[in-house]
């Protein structure tokens, strides 16, 4: 369990971000390091002024999926951002913004939520990933 869990977050919809947050929190609870690399629309969802907004669901969710997710939220399921905050409190979770995606979106480090630890390139991400799995969400 010493090899880190490495998540590349590409999609910016709430369902995929929630799935990633749950995977991260579970690993953090086991003491396993987690490296999260934010690209494209996932990075956009981590903007400080957007992180608490609704980000929609993946297309396959459809109306039925929307209804099920809304019911879970109404039952008190916390947001993916809150799940990630708690995972970070446990320690070992590092969240980095992809510098290329920062350029694409035209944003700087000050635009990102404090959940994001820094900005790095893909080479640094691979180096930190070690021999752990790469998961693309």
């Amino acid at each position: 369990m010493d090899e880190p869990l490495n998540l590349i977050l590409f999609s910016g919809t709430d369902d995929k971000l929630q799935a990633a947050a749950v995977l991260s929190a579970g690993a953090a609870a086991l003491g396993r390091p987690v490296n999260i690399f934010l690209q494209y629309w996932a990075l956009d969802a981590f903007r400080a002024d957007r992180i608490d907004r609704s980000h929609g669901l993946a297309p396959e969710a459809g109306d039925e999926g929307r209804r099920l997710v809304d019911a879970l939220t109404a039952a008190g399921q916390q947001s993916w951002a809150e799940t990630l905050r708690q995972a970070k409190e446990l320690g070992g979770v590092d969240i980095e913004a992809c510098s290329l995606s920062m350029d694409l979106l035209g944003i700087g480090p000050a635009d990102l939520d404090p959940l994001v630890d820094g900005v790095e390139g893909v080479t640094a991400f691979h180096l930190n990933a070690g021999n752990g799995p790469l998961v693309f969400i």
């Binding site: 369990m1 929190a25 609870a29 003491g31 446990l90």
Partner: protein, 78 residues
Amino acid sequence: MGLIQIDRTLDARGLACPMPIVKTAQMMKTMASGETLEVTSTDAGSVKDFAAWSRTTGNPLLDSTSDAAVYRFVLRKA
């Protein structure tokens, strides 16, 4: 299993996966070695999750029971 002294309790009922384990890990960090923690949960994944968490982190799972849809675990901090 009434012989086990319970030092701390955590009510994780109503919390969805993985929050019962996350809150357990958070609380165990604040506990001293040898202290015990009783957790109650309604997440059906808890039974396998607590066994796996105990095995991986080395904190012994002293008891794992269920009553209706409530699961109860007792852990000892290593």
